[in-house]
Symmetry: C3
Subunit: 385 residues, 3 copies
């Protein structure tokens, strides 16, 4: 028997509910997931499926790399107000970063996945991956894996720590603190970088990855060696390789909320953050001005991603979601998917914000395939409004 769909959709979004129901019907019986969308600041899709268990709209899931969306929103806020300047060298804020030929790199390069310090030759322990300061210290000493300026590659587990160190040096506060104060708390978003103990009971332990015999190739399909660029970037070059799918199950990771992959959120939280970033929400002005959104959404790194060995497209830290995932979305769409299968973005031209979570990941990582259908359904319904 197919499990039920819970929640509501606004008038005109009925087809999204149907599409979500169709997606759930094709999944395993224990499927849990949430889907949320905002149109011009109004929540128009708010759905979830709770598997055999008691999950609901307030359930929280590890969102892996979608965390980077929150990290880069902080960077954008600080650039907007002048605290950070994109074309300054990273070493202006963080002198130790100069080691091994990285002195000329700008903050813009760093945000655009161009620094080349995707990891270290020896890898990290889980405790280290939970601590952005440790990551940053280690990477300050690391030689880039490609010549700065010639290429780019996905800094999967570390970009948030690198940006976070710049934030910390410039403001005296961690990126997580700035995010909490400036973004999360004012909008009551269920998207946490560092989950308070009091909310930990709402966290849903990530289950094992769903076997996926016939899935289309994802943007992250690292080859199978222990010392490849992908292995370094995903911390598989150690005696205890990271299992990305279950990383949020580590209490130390959840509690610290490292800015690359440690976030915990509901779909409401994901979509709400992008809605708040790019438009009016709950009578508050958009966090980012259109010019700031446009600058962070401008394509900065486009082409062969040396880590994933596939086509990649990045703005400043954000994925160019329209180029990589959903080509019908508007120019200037900013977002970030996560290895657990979640997807989140704002399409500012369309006034759309989207969030999706699921409990069990789908191999290989990145936005789960059903997002193709769900984003298309939401987009089509929004256009007809």
């Amino acid at each position: 028997m197919t499990q039920g769909i819970h929640g509501t959709v606004a008038d005109g979004f009925e087809a999204v509910r149907e599409e979500f129901a169709a997606v759930v019907a094709g999944e395993l019986p224990d499927y849990e997931g949430q889907l949320c969308a905002y149109l011009h600041g109004r929540r128009v899709v708010d759905l979830w499926a709770c598997g055999a268990d008691s999950a609901d709209a307030d359930s929280l899931y590890g969102v892996h790399s979608a965390t980077k969306g929150a990290a880069h929103l902080v960077a954008a806020l600080l650039v907007q107000e002048g605290t950070l300047e994109l074309d300054r060298r990273v070493t202006y804020y963080w002198p130790e970063f100069a080691a091994e030929g990285k002195d000329a790199l700008t903050l813009r390069d760093l945000l655009a996945h161009r620094a080349g310090v995707i990891g270290t030759d020896t890898g990290f322990t889980t405790a280290e991956l939970a601590d952005d300061r440790v990551i940053a210290e280690r990477l300050a000493d690391q030689r880039p894996y490609w010549r700065p300026g010639t290429a780019f590659g996905y800094h999967a587990l570390v970009l948030g720590a690198l940006v976070g160190e710049v934030v910390r040096r410039a403001t005296g506060h961690t990126l997580q603190e700035v995010y909490e104060e400036r973004v999360r708390a004012p909008h009551h978003l269920d998207f946490h970088l560092g989950l308070p103990a009091a909310l930990d009971h709402r966290f849903r332990t990530a289950g094992p990855a769903v076997p996926a015999p016939v899935r289309e190739a994802s943007s992250v399909s690292p080859a199978d060696g222990p010392r490849t660029l992908a292995a370094i970037a995903f911390n598989r070059n150690t005696a205890h390789p990271t299992d990305l799918a279950t990383l949020p199950n580590e209490p130390v990771v959840r509690a610290a909320g490292p800015a690359s992959v440690g976030g915990v959120a509901s779909a409401r939280g994901l979509a709400g953050m992008y809605a708040a970033a790019t438009g009016e929400l709950d009578s508050r002005a958009a966090l980012l001005k259109p010019d700031t959104v446009a600058e962070f959404g401008q394509f900065h790194s486009v082409g062969h991603d040396l880590v994933t060995r596939t086509h990649g497209s990045y703005g400043l830290g954000f994925q160019a979601t329209a180029d990589v995932w959903h080509p019908f979305l508007g120019a200037g769409t900013i977002g970030h998917s996560g290895a657990g299968g979640c997807q989140a973005f704002a399409d500012p031209a369309g006034g759309l914000a989207y969030g999706y979570t699921r409990r069990r990941s789908v191999r290989p990582g990145g936005a789960a395939p059903e997002n193709q259908r769900l984003v298309a359904a939401v987009h089509t319904a929004a256009l007809a409004c």
Copy 2:
């Protein structure tokens, strides 16, 4: 009953006639098209098929983006004589272009589809698309859609206007005037940027696009959203989206001949222009010196085209036809195809110039598939000469 093929071929080019006949036999009964080629300044192929109607070698068709070939020939002439300098900033000629972070862009960047101002957030009316000055004025204020210097994308409907504004500022004449005086009139070319009323009776109204169930993917296959980069570049981000296929049917477009897509030509005109540009024709010296051809044919933008989302290769404005369409052509081939299905180029190393028109376009845009067979046949015959 298959319709007949008209015209002549030089000795050694009989196989081209056969290939053209085979192409026509596979088309709909109302097919109209022209094929022309020059080898070392001699017209060696001059064929046409006239459908159910009275078309002939003097019939004129909208050539869409092949128009850009004429526009860039003007730019090359002015660079050759020193009126324009490729490495000067665009703002040296056109100060208003500096807005929104475009001040450092050079003429070279502009010609190489790197400026990033592929359209505007609000789109154009058809009347505006017919007027290069209006387009240029609007784009001067536009923020680039990608960070200048990081990427490139096809400026489908506007590149001619941007280059034209530089020409106008530098010479006091429109690009169309320079083209008429320096290129078209001296060689009596049937390739018009601005069709005189007296010749309008030779224009063949573009018919509806041919349904094409099984066609190979073209270089332009924009995704289906109304605010994508492709939508902006092809002016589909408006209440009245442009139907590119029938745009030349608008009298205002034909009469003005906007330099991106407004040209009207026969195959003789297309091939003749490239023959005149790169070699001796009718006892006149080549318009361009070999060094100028080589510079405009040098690859300048190669890789992922952000607008078409496919592999693109451009010299200075010209398509690198050998890299994109016909890999057996010589290095340094310059050309430009058009959305109606036409194709035109010069292969200077082989002494070859080619032009092809057809009345009804083939979806998706770009050079129609039959060009693969026709160019191969012409090239093979030319090699054997």
Copy 3:
């Protein structure tokens, strides 16, 4: 009857012997080939198959572009000791190179296949291809085929000559002389740039290419025109196009050992050179320090290769073998394949060096397909050690 496999493997590498035997069993009866690998300076694989003839481990084969690995090792040695500086302009060493807009090119650009002088408009004779000084002189006058700085392409037959000329100007010795004195002789490597007459009896004449009806596409599949970039790069733009497969059969080529494609080696020689370059071998210190290896292995040119029209990845002269051929190899792997089917590389992170030769080439050029299986087998066995 299947021919036998000769040679030895170290404990733990038995599966490599089996894989090699399986490869040989699938080849024609006259197959000849050698396979050699080092792990942390110890020879762990040393196998050969000798066809119907008396080939053995000391047989020498033309290794075509794998020669470039030796050439770039010389460049790396001279950079390491300060004789050459990567970021100096080529013209600092070689003033005549400035012609036709090449004055700003650095040695780094040159090594990274970015110079654009892949050949000449008129091609070379075989005697000229054997003489690096003649090649260099001709290319000094040549206009680049793409705008320096915008793209890259495989300098198939000439890169060694260009680098060699820089070496000669800076040291007063040819690249071949430096290689002999600093690399080959001290390690007694059977990898010769210029084969002494006394050893010529060990050279195995390259046979005709093996017909290969169903082979996967290689990285080098030039289109079929006589004036394409590929034709220029592979010297097919002349009245007497080069047959790359049999080029080493020319005594003048073997004797001179031009640094792009004229090397002659056994698999022991290939693997031994990479072992000596990156690690301790026969109680001698590694020729290159880890920092030098890392710099030459850093990705410098990644993306669309204008000559091969496929995805290319280069460090400084070396192929980024892990990105192009064997994705499971470690980051920083340096190597070079050859058109005869050979493959050679060092994976410094894994302490692995690999060499493979075969007598008859496989169309199209580049590392022969069986390297996929053989490298995987060696890598898997090495990991388990």
